[in-house]
Symmetry: C2
């Protein structure tokens, strides 16, 4: 089954936003066993959009269009696709009610006239409810020609849930063999090194296959098997996954695609009955913000501190004035006292601290931009790490967050070992 | 001059990497005044690549191809493009020397036979030195047909410097008029409503044009003019921008594309000589994390608090036990006391607080998931807002952050009015 992607939107065409939707959908479709040979981006222009849709339908079985389903008159995807399929649009009462309910839910009475445009659907189309916005998804089938168009709203927070909840199962039903996979998620080992460590496995791959995915500060390997049943697929993947555990050991924190590093850590803390606090300087709340992405983090996290100023580091965390004078705010010593102080102030079993120079300013020859110290206190024992990042301000802060989470994982596992 | 982008590579096609190159090049080309109507992604397949190149040359003046210039036999971009232009490849001694020098520089003696493939260039092509890798860039012109192909290596750290140093000036020379733009950035007004408010301006647009861009919790409008000089362009854009200010008033926080909402707020605080603190429950550090994206935020921000637990709200912020008992942690009263308490604890002039139910759990009929209270203290005066968000945990937290920033802006501006 050949699937092709068309991303609609002048913002993508002019480079104002990066086309992450295409990457997401391509990856998901590939995992479902679909073949992908083309991706196209077109703007909100009727004629060019029509050409793109006709060409795509000509060479592929299924065309997935994202974007251009908004309420404005620039949004033309539905209208143009309906015309290509020779379908009229009608007002779908169900979609209209959902739009009313949506506006009611967000407490807005300002439904403008053009919002009703989103309740217009092509005759014979399958309407997919949008749980995160007002534009429904649409599947338009032409059984005679064996061609299908799938229309999904462009905002990623609407597109992704809709794909996962409805479109994926629709596509899966059309496939003879299922594709099943695990994501082996690794932290604390760099991308190049991790790939070198499994180069032989990647070379030898047939079924299952092994493919690396780089994420900020983490490396993920997808193990994918093609099989008639999930059980059979699991049997095929088992030896490969066991081999990954043998090679990477505790650096593998999960093989569950849905589980994030912060969720893994919150679960680990819960399991150990421990609480955590944070003391952040350069990351300025991003570390805690990421940890608390994990639903249910309230069981392990009571409070955290953003201590940007030196005086705040002293006042809230009890960092010694002499330490700041002698070693500076960006030092292993300060990171250590911050972690110890955060654990004490929050009466927590563990604490993470981050202090560094994110840039663009503030660097010196001795302490350049990208220098970050991370501290981790677990049951009174404090470890620190010196890191050198080479990105811009944003990237340096993101890397510091992941490095801190990785250090916490290592220390929690080491603490477990000591207790044994 | 119509420019079209073709990204070559199976990794992009299958979604293993996000196509950031296309966004980068599209934005740069649009700013150079080029028109962009199509972007295409194809894999390392000879036939499909040739089709894509021929089609692109058919409808555009210049085709920029990225990727597929590596040393392996999968890398076909140069070979296929040369064939389309009817050119033979020859060994370019200059490129060969540069490849040798490159390997010498990175201290590697492992020049494999296939590296020399990268020194093969099409007859008559302009060869662009690659200062960050081994594959040179290539410009192949067909003056008779008025068509040009520009080939650039795929790795962003090779592509971007090459574009900036050589390709941009090449394209600029071909352009009669430049393109200049401002981004009118608006907070506190929803996308649909904002677009309705300027529908007539969008309809009437020719030069300058007006186009909306939705961002989480903000709306941006790009005003773009085509002119022979920047001065002339500014003259053309001025009436449109003034009209936007008339309609949106203080909701316009900048017309500078580079300036973010957090940078604007940090600048506003600096201007007023005020400091800020934060007290976060459901956003758990994300609000401070975003504010401190702004370089130089240390001048206005000393410390902030993540008070997830009720006990922490009492202990750190002095929220009254009775308030939590009577109204609950998610209430306007608690948000108010959090903001007041944060300002006091941090000895700050202003403070923002956020308390809410981000989900997925924790909602009740009276207090559903998505209910968030925001508090803002400015010089002892506290305002609160009740918000109802309808996204998932992540989206609710992101929206809460933007709404808090927006409230701070409103209150800072209002405080300025009162003083007058």
């Amino acid at each position: 089954m050949v699937v092709e992607l068309i991303s609609v939107g002048t913002e993508i065409l002019l480079g104002n936003i990066v086309n992450t939707n295409a990457a997401y959908l391509a990856e998901k479709c590939a995992l479902l066993g679909c073949s992908l040979y083309h991706q196209t981006v077109v703007g909100d222009n009727e004629e060019r959009m029509e050409d793109a849709i006709r060409q795509a339908l000509d060479r592929s079985d299924i065309v997935i269009l994202t974007g251009g389903l908004g309420p404005t008159k620039d949004d033309l995807t539905k209208e143009v696709t309906a015309r290509v399929f020779g379908r009229e649009l009608y007002l779908d009462e169900h979609s209209k009610e959902r739009i009313e309910a949506y506006f009611g839910r967000i407490g807005s009475s300002r439904i403008t006239e053009n919002n009703w445009k989103q309740a217009l659907v092509p005759e014979g189309a399958i309407v997919i409810d949008n749980h995160n916005g007002t534009a429904p998804g649409l599947i338009i089938e032409d059984p005679e020609k064996g061609k299908t168009a799938i229309l999904i709203p462009g905002p990623p927070n609407e597109m992704k849930p809709m794909f996962e909840q409805d479109i994926a199962s629709y596509l899966n039903k059309l496939q003879p063999e299922g594709i099943y996979s695990h994501m082996v998620k690794i932290c604390g080992i760099g991308e190049s090194r991790a790939e070198t460590m499994v180069a032989d496995l990647m070379d030898a791959q047939t079924n299952p296959t092994l493919a690396p995915y780089a994420k900020t500060g983490e490396v993920h390997f997808r193990v994918t098997a093609k099989a008639k049943s999930e059980e059979e697929a699991e049997e095929l993947m088992k030896p490969m996954i066991e081999e990954m555990y043998r090679r990477f050991g505790d650096a593998v924190y999960t093989i569950n695609e849905q589980e994030t590093l912060e969720e893994n850590l919150v679960a680990l803390l819960k399991e150990k009955g421990m609480t955590l606090s944070t003391a952040e300087s350069c990351t300025g709340g991003k570390l805690a913000g990421r940890l608390l992405n994990a639903a249910g983090a309230s069981e392990v996290f009571n409070e955290g501190y953003i201590t940007y100023a030196n005086a705040s580091k002293e006042k809230i965390l009890g960092v010694k004035h002499e330490t700041l004078e002698e070693f500076g705010a960006v030092s292993a010593q300060t990171a250590e006292e911050m972690a110890r102080g955060a654990a004490k102030a929050a009466e927590a079993d563990a604490a993470l601290s981050v202090t560094g120079i994110a840039g663009p300013g503030g660097g010196t020859k001795e302490k350049p931009v990208g220098l970050v110290y991370i501290g981790c206190a677990v049951n009174g024992r404090v470890t620190t790490r010196e890191c050198h990042f080479t990105g811009n301000r944003e990237k340096n802060r993101d890397y510091a967050v992941v490095r801190a989470l990785t250090l916490l994982r290592e220390e929690l596992l080491a603490a477990g070992q000591q207790q044994k």
